[in-house]
Symmetry: C2
Subunit: 200 residues, 2 copies
Amino acid sequence: MTQELQRRGSYEKGVRRRQEILDRAIEVFAERGAQGTSLRAIGEAIGVSHAALKHYFDSREELLIEVYRAAEERSTLGDPPVGTTGPVGLMTHAARRNHGVPGLVQLYSTLVAGALENGHDAARSFFSARFRDLRGLLADRVREEQRDGHIRADITPDAAAALIIAASDGLQTQWLLDPSVDIEESLSLLESLLQGPVRS
Amino acid sequence: MTQELQRRGSYEKGVRRRQEILDRAIEVFAERGAQGTSLRAIGEAIGVSHAALKHYFDSREELLIEVYRAAEERSTLGDPPVGTTGPVGLMTHAARRNHGVPGLVQLYSTLVAGALENGHDAARSFFSARFRDLRGLLADRVREEQRDGHIRADITPDAAAALIIAASDGLQTQWLLDPSVDIEESLSLLESLLQGPVRS
């Protein structure tokens, strides 16, 4: 085996191992969230040595961000929202999916709150980019729905996109604190308002 | 001086001292948020001994909640929203006020994220009650506006109240991560949607 092949083999093994750690961490966090635990305690919970974790992730925050990113990508890939093409429908679908994994909603809140503080550069750049991309994606959906006559033409797509994301995030927070809050009812109210007046 | 009077004098002194600590803490947090500092570091920042802080507040979280509560009450008292009686107008007013004190928005996010995790009972009960009361208040405003013909009659007040709070909270988060997000534009979009169709 040449050195090049050895390096590649070892790199691929590293990528697999990192992936296994993320898989296991997602299971743990889906159940119980971040809970302010240290990198060491996380290692214990997922059965990975502290040294191994430090090898694959620079910090606790980087691990948590990667867990969140992997969990989000996986659920998006594994469960395409058939028939839900509207911008609010997409967020409702995501909220419904999150219903089953309150630990990930907790993890999301913890990371976003951290991102707002100084000194959390990894979280700040991840979430700034995530919100920006999501606003872009939803604004495009708003434009499409406006062309198709499903969303009022007098609405500014960017303002609507930020509003829809905010509504979805904020409702999930309220629901975690009080399960009687009906996320879907409020989101479907927003959807119908964007569509325009009900003909009576 | 009777013992009773001594006790009362000492009680009043304690209340005043606690209030002074909160005043000083609000100034510090308004500038820089909670930033994951310990109770000891907070004491240093506001020039109060760790022992004194422990005397007045059971934990770091209790101090932070009291700082948030006092700051919110103060700004509500000091600046009544004249002419903003609608539910979205109220939240827009609050968001505008928060614009000047990003540290308090950070503090709010930190406390709410903490409240979603287990083991943060003080924050959980404070924010559950705060959201419930705020939903009740805004739902009443929605009903009034419906009676006056300013909000569409076919809207469920409770669903609208949760939606308005969620929108305001979520937009402030997005704005802290990206100042180009226009909170007021998105909230005024929501307000106009609740009012009903624009006549063209």
